[in-house]
Every structure is written in structure tokens, then in C-alpha cells.
Symmetry: C2
Subunit: 129 residues, 2 copies
Amino acid sequence: MATSRRSKQRDAIKSYLMSTTAHPTAETIYGNIKKEFPNISLGTVYRNLNFLVEHGEALRISCGDGSEHFDGKTEPHNHFLCRSCGRIIDLEMDGIDHIDIIANAGFNGKIEDHVIYFRGLCGDCQKYR
Amino acid sequence: MATSRRSKQRDAIKSYLMSTTAHPTAETIYGNIKKEFPNISLGTVYRNLNFLVEHGEALRISCGDGSEHFDGKTEPHNHFLCRSCGRIIDLEMDGIDHIDIIANAGFNGKIEDHVIYFRGLCGDCQKYR
DNA sequence: ATTGTTGCAAATATTTTGCATTGTG
DNA sequence: CACAATGCAAAATATTTGCAACAAT
């Protein structure tokens, strides 16, 4: 079976993801890792992001703004999306897993989990309105 | 100011969207409208989909599967995403707008609404497991 | 030594856009 | 007649992939 080997590039991508709460895109990650590995290619970044997501070491966030964002925080949590600045922010909030039960009532399949994007104005953007 | 004019192509796209619950992609819509308008271009489909979404006559669904899906049902409702067949299904369920209040507690911005994708196995896929 | 990983470039896939022409109001 | 909408093709974005060289085990 396919064993995976370690690489400095992958380690760097993972550390970078764990060091930020900014939910960067592949392009942003590429720009940052390049400081340490000037020759790294975007293909390598994408390959490693896919690897990390498949191995549960990162989350892919598809919020519909054109490109995917990635999150090094893998514990289940919810996100907020600012309609003004586009920022994605982690939410600290009480659990709402009961909505899966509500959703499953009257549905003939099996609901296992959910993905939520709360939307509105972030604290910074709200100030200037 | 920019007034909008009617076009047969746009009407056809809107009727098609309202006639289905399958949440088609631009490509699928293109294929179907082509039966009636063999010369329609994909660019026109995209332009009209954007127009309809901007005017509240359709919803854009970004579920992270590579391309966007569109929904002619504009009343607020939630979606289910099957992890086996990829289908997007409308959910009939009790309201859960209280989660916005839960999410806003301890958040320094303003939560206005949310988008949810419930995930799991649809009725059909569950049968064969 | 084996084979997973990389860098690079080319290929895909999706969506947008410039422009001359057509069609609606 | 004015100008919004179209068809077409080219461009812009985002992501994946083939391959030879490199590097981890």
C-alpha cells in the first residue's frame, strides 16, 4: 500500500496552516511558503493541501468566493463570513448539533453532519457603517 | 440608470430553473436550454444566471464540488448533500433560525443569516449499503 | 534501491469579458 | 433609435497532472 514520506515542503505548509487563523487560499499559502522555499511550486502546494485534507490534518473551506480556503484547525467548529471584507472568522459558540436531528425528521436518508457559514458584518466592518 | 430588457433566453433559463429541483450547474442548464435555443452560448447562460441571482430570482449554491449549482426556489430553505452520489436535495424541515442568535453570542460582529449544507447519505444511496 | 515527492510546464475546468451584431422597448 | 442582450471567441482564474529529477526510508 502507499506509504507516505515526509517532506520539508509539506511540513512547512502544515506548520503555516497551524500558525494562522486567517483561512488562507492556496495562492496565499504559496506566497508565504515561498519565503522559506523560494523554489516551491504551486502544484506542490495544491498536492500537499489535498494530502492534508484527505488525511484529516486540514479542512477545506468552500465558501463560494472563487477559490478554496484552508484551515489548520481540524476540530469541528463553525465559520463566519463577512459580506463586506470577505474575511472568514472562527466562531466560538455553543454546540448546535441538534439541528442534524431536526433536519433528519421527515428526510428519508441519513444526515451525518453539516457545514455552516454564518454571514453578516464582522466587528471591524460594523464599526464603519 | 440601467434598465433591463427581456429576452427569450433569460425567460427560458428562469423557467427551466423553476421547473426542476435538481440544482443544475451552468453546464447542465446550457445543455437543456440548447434544446430550445440551439445557438445559445455558455456566456449567455452565465450572464443570465448572474443576473437572476443578483435580482433575487435564483440562488447560487456553492457546495465545493468544483462548479456552482443554481436553484430556482428562492424562498429560504436548507440543502442536503449526498456524499455518495453528490446530489443536492431540498430539505423540508422546521426552522432553525435560532442558531444565528446562538452564534452571535460572544461574537463582536453582527450575524445576519447563514448557509447550511447537511451531509450524509440520501435515501437512494443508503439502501445499497 | 525503491518509490514517494518535487519543480516545471502543459493541460483541464470553470467563469468572465471584449466586440460586432441582434432584438426589445 | 438607443442601448440591453446575444453569440462567438479569447482571456482570466483556479486547479490538476505528466514527467524527469530529487530525496526519504
